[in-house]
Amino acid sequence: MRRITYLACILAVSALVAIMIGSAMATGNFFVPIIAIPLWVIVVFACRRNLETVTADERLSKVRSQAALRTFELMVIAGAIAAVVLSSFVFSESLSPKIEGNVYTDTNGTVSMVLNLYKPGSPETPGNLIQSTTIRNISAMDETEATAYCEFRQEAFGGNEQNGLIGVTIAGIVGVMLVAYGAFYLYYDKKY
């Protein structure tokens, strides 16, 4: 098998497995990944065994290991800085009151919102409730009420934003790592 055929084969099989796993996760069928991943590994190894040309040697190993080492070093430094910044958020959050919000539809069809203010660093239980405010019929608010509502809503639903932020942060870290690795790989490939 030629190198280009090998790459095309691996790409096609990987795409197929990714689609299978994605659709299986979406439908809740967890048996598909259990079968698909080992099958993917078997196909990759079978293709590698039939490969005629050399795909990895000592120079490439050196380039890859140097690129990985530099990426690791970069991520350790960046991680240390990020840890300091994030820890300050963790400490400040435990010292500030927690605001939680809920939106519900009343029996008369109007939409109301409940805002609960809890003691700092305590679980969100009725015993730790400092204040609870209900804004009735949020569709009929005037401009002043709407501004106050927006500010409260932003605070109250901050938890959801934080969850999204974690996902974006993880994706960002993975992206930065891949870019850094790629850049270092190209640098060392040119150097050696």
């Binding site: 040309t53 050399v54 795909t55 990895a56 040697d57 000592e58 120079r59 490439l60 490939d189 150097k191 050696y192």
Partner: protein
Amino acid sequence: MKNRIRVLRAERDMTQEQLADLVGVTRNTIISTEKGKYCPSIKLGYRIARVFGVCIDDVFTYEDEIDGPSKDNE
């Protein structure tokens, strides 16, 4: 590390691709080694010398000024 790979290849009318296949590395490794950018392992050095049917000293030359301990030639 100086080397005579290009000369030895030319003498035997051998391409970089052919040499790479014979010693089991990629063509880029042969190119980098020929240019002196990459210093091959002793194993690879011996394999290259064996392909040409010469002693390793006839292929690679160690030079103190270039390959000395103060230089980073890894």
